[in-house]
Assembly symmetry: C2
Homo-oligomer: 152 residues x 2
Amino acid sequence: MRSEFTVAVHCLALLAYLPDHRASSELLAHNVSTNPTRIRKIMSTLKKSGFVKTKEGIGGGYELNCQPAEVTLAEVYRSICGGTLKPHWSSGNPEEKCLVSANMALVMDGFFREAELYYEEYLERNTLQTVLERLRQCQQKTARGETHVHEY
Amino acid sequence: MRSEFTVAVHCLALLAYLPDHRASSELLAHNVSTNPTRIRKIMSTLKKSGFVKTKEGIGGGYELNCQPAEVTLAEVYRSICGGTLKPHWSSGNPEEKCLVSANMALVMDGFFREAELYYEEYLERNTLQTVLERLRQCQQKTARGETHVHEY
DNA sequence: TATACTGTAATAATATTTCATACAGTTAGC
DNA sequence: GCTAACTGTATGAAATATTATTACAGTATA
């Protein structure tokens, strides 16, 4: 579920990076290395949260609907997979009389929920702009001085 | 992988809770609601990190080897599943010429690694003692005034 | 009206997680 | 020494979650 967050950030970053800030699900899918259906599902969620606009029909696709410097990763995270840091599996058994077994699931839920807030606090400090900056830092490291042909 | 953390905390908390701080993998497995093999694997890791002592043979089992108030959840977390917050799936394709596609995996890795530090920072503030306290709070809420028979 | 899109459902393929079984090695007590 | 009750670990099966594929209805453009 957390890889959906990666995909969402990737798509938003790519839209921010592209000169016209627009792309189809097929183009996004190829760039992300996944399939268009997955992209459409995730972008559909991002649309509901207002990060992108969509246009159906010929010449349609997805268009960035926000300022890269103003959208934090925490907002994207919550939109896509907030509350998913706790594991699916739960420990103990509520039917048991033992204090530990009966309540451990509940207690751990609390810890995971609170820890997630700290997690989000970090994401809060980073925006789509930060992502673009880090991408450009990669470029400087791997191909200092060279110019790339960008094949979207 | 993060549910292993839950199991580890559960086992350590139970050992801390039990009067003699000792239990076999079978007893732990039943209390946690899982199988002894899983418990032994996790406890084996906790042993290597020094949180518990083990004794093989008749009358053997696991024994707490630390002070509940001094062991933070962050230490347990790192012992069991540090570095597992980033998803298995990676976005993009390093072979692509596009800056975004080529480097997104690397950039997201960085974010996940740093976010995990914030996550651990929260766990740092909580110890096995905290877990026991929260368990007792559950008891107060659900069965105020009643005495429980504890069937380990 | 044909074409190129999104939105979404349904299902297949794959990967991960959890469980079950088995057995070698260890220790204690008889 | 022998047996019984443990841990440590390997291996494979079962259950579950994730990702990919296919299909098609709805929409906008030319």
